[in-house]
């Protein structure tokens, strides 16, 4: 009988919970995360890169036609390159990436009001929290290089998404190499 009374005691709260949670299975449509009960709406502290298209963009503007406007918008500039790539489980920066980073460092020095968020990413292999560490190490390697070139640390922030936001969905090296990356996400653009 002891076991039975335990079972009965256990059932009562379960029934109560089941009764009051029926309307909560519908997903919230709010923009930001909302607890499904006793909800608490959060305002994002900063914009993330959702609206920034970081893939290659072709353009009709040729480099010798005389580009006017923000250098960030010049497709012929190294600044149009907003992603650099890494080897598996590595945060080393290759020569081509150094040039891209230098261009962004110089831009930020010339435009003290501009600011950038460096998003560090990893491919899907390995464990999720370790990959958060890897993404962090990658964006910090980029930030360190920019600081050495005199970019104010106030203009550069970083966030690691680990393997949580891949750009390529395949499970092979052609996707993985695109996902091991740091993205430059300029703010307020």
């Amino acid at each position: 009988m002891n076991v039975l009374s335990k079972v009965l005691v256990a059932i009562i709260p379960v029934v109560l919970i089941a009764g009051c949670s029926t309307q909560d299975t519908k997903m919230s449509d709010a923009d930001d995360a909302v607890g499904s009960q006793g909800s608490m709406s959060m305002t994002p502290a900063t914009q993330d890169g959702d609206s920034v298209d970081t893939s290659a963009v072709t353009s009709a503007v040729s480099s010798d036609s005389g580009f006017s406007g923000d250098a960030l918008d010049n497709p012929a500039s190294l600044l149009s390159k907003r992603v650099i790539y890494f080897d598996f489980d590595k945060s080393d920066i290759d020569e081509a990436s150094r040039e891209i980073i230098s261009a962004h460092a110089a831009y930020l020095t010339d435009n003290p009001r501009a600011s950038v968020v460096l998003e560090g990413h990893a491919d899907e292999r390995g464990t999720r929290e370790y990959n958060i560490g890897l993404g962090e190490r990658r964006y910090k390697a980029v930030a360190r290089m920019m600081a050495l070139q005199g970019t104010s640390t106030r203009q550069v922030e970083g966030v690691s998404y680990g393997e949580e936001r891949p750009v390529a969905m395949g499970s092979d090296e052609s996707s993985w190499r695109l996902n091991r990356r740091v993205e430059f996400v300029y703010q307020g653009r």
Binding site: A10, I11, G35, Y130, G133, M169
Partner: protein, 429 residues
């Protein structure tokens, strides 16, 4: 043998929610033969709100410890003790028999069941349990637990819950992340948090009432603690840089977590009452994925301080660090068995990432899975199974469970979206 289980489960499935389905990917030899006779129905309406016997049969089959007799093979379907002809069941090599009745009673239901030893012809246990239409699946899991314990001599885990992360990708490329809480068989999934930005690392409090997790909802990672039933929550840490991998101490008073505020990722312990934060590791390496030993005396964590990710143990009194894994190129994200004798973790020799089990006394490693992107192992509270995340052939994130001897594997496949990071609550609801 399992075909009817699938059929029955589909036909009795509550189609309102995207329920999980179960496949047996590898069967066990030497499982105990058991029959669960369809429960009789005593009520004014057409039928009982749930096929209780089907749920019990599926539970027992999924544990890997039982082979469940198909209904088609039953010679009779008794629902009272005096209707049982034991010789019929002996002919079918059935060792244990479950019969029962669902009865309407005062606006609710009474579920009555009895478990018999077929060879002795004696009753082992029998109970009447008050239930409701919405609570009947829970009642069925509780009966499964009683049957499991009576026959296996250790507590069952069918009435427990799991939490996991799901991700849905829309055609426009937008993503929807959720933390779901479901019964251990994957039914009754309910989102406790939805976000357009990543959610990670759900971890149950030892009493099974709260979840700690990481949310990127502000564009930066922060650790939250949320009461599962009320939805109330509290932001615990949002330091600059990484806030990750929260995990409750066995006594529920402290949270081990990972911060990068001092430079590289290090492990900290937060006292939840005093909010005092103590730094545990100091290295330039990535130190992450802490897990408490069941006695609370130490943490096992992942570190690449030796060049590659490997598992280490730190003793919290002496602060001595000892490397635990040496085989393989990648050993990470450990989960302690409830008895503290072994660790499950992600293991790789190179390209494939699999779940392995290490005996802490001998250091011997056994690889339990044969897929390639396996991660996030979490022990069942009775130590009999490990739930983990893997990828289906079509590249979908799915949850699977494997018995600790590696013989029985089952997949719990979400019908919509990708599922990952399962965490098995240690406490019964």
């Amino acid at each position: 043998m399992f075909a009817w289980l699938l059929v029955v489960m589909f036909s009795t499935n509550i189609t309102v929610q995207a329920a999980l389905t179960i496949e047996i990917t590898q069967s066990a030899a030497g499982a105990m033969p058991v029959a669960v006779v369809p429960f009789s129905w005593q009520g004014e309406m057409g039928e009982a709100p749930l096929d209780v016997a089907a749920v019990i049969g599926a539970d027992l089959g999924r544990s890997g410890r039982f082979s469940v007799l198909s209904r088609r093979d039953m010679l009779a379907k008794p629902h009272q003790a005096d209707q049982i002809r034991y010789q019929n069941w002996r002919l079918l090599n059935v060792e244990s028999l479950v019969i029962g009745t669902v009865r309407e009673s005062g606006g609710g239901y009474i579920v009555q069941f009895q478990l018999f030893d077929v060879f002795r012809g004696t009753q082992l246990i029998g109970y009447s349990i008050r239930s409701s239409a919405s609570g009947m699946r829970r009642t069925a899991h509780q009966i499964s637990d009683l049957v499991y314990e009576a026959l296996q001599g250790e507590p069952g885990v069918f009435a427990t819950r799991i939490a996991y992360v799901t991700e849905l990708r829309a055609t426009d490329g937008s993503r929807r992340y959720s933390i779901q809480v479901a019964d251990a068989d994957g039914y009754n999934p309910k989102p406790v948090l939805n976000s357009k930005r990543p959610l990670m690392s759900p971890s149950w409090s030892p009493d099974g009432r709260k979840l700690a997790y990481v949310s990127f909802e502000t564009g930066r990672p922060a650790i939250y603690i949320q009461e599962v039933d009320s939805g109330e929550r509290e932001k615990i840490t949002s330091f600059k840089g990484v806030n990750g991998a929260p995990v409750w101490s066995p006594n529920g008073k402290r949270l081990a977590l990972v911060l990068s505020k001092a430079g590289s990722l290090d492990i900290y312990i937060l006292d939840l009452a005093s909010k005092k934060l103590e730094r545990i590791t100091r290295s330039y390496a990535i130190d992450t994925e802490p897990v408490w030993s069941p006695d609370g005396s130490g943490l096992v964590f992942t570190s690449d301080r030796g060049g590659r990710p490997q598992l280490y143990r730190i003793d919290l009194a002496e602060r001595q660090v000892k490397r635990l894994t040496f085989e393989g190129k990648y050993n990470a994200r450990a989960s302690f068995s409830p008895d503290g004798q072994s660790l499950a973790f992600v293991h790789s020799e190179g390209s494939l990432f699999r779940i392995a089990l290490m005996d802490l006394k001998t250091g011997a490693i056994q690889v339990l899975t044969d897929t390639g992107l396996d991660e996030s192992p979490s022990f069942a509270p009775n130590g009999s199974m490990i739930i983990y995340a893997t990828e289906s052939k079509s590249g979908k994130g799915v949850l699977s469970a494997v018995s600790i001897d590696g013989r029985v594997r089952q997949r719990l496949a979400l019908q919509i979206g990708d599922a990952r990071e399962p965490a098995w609550a240690s406490h019964k609801k």
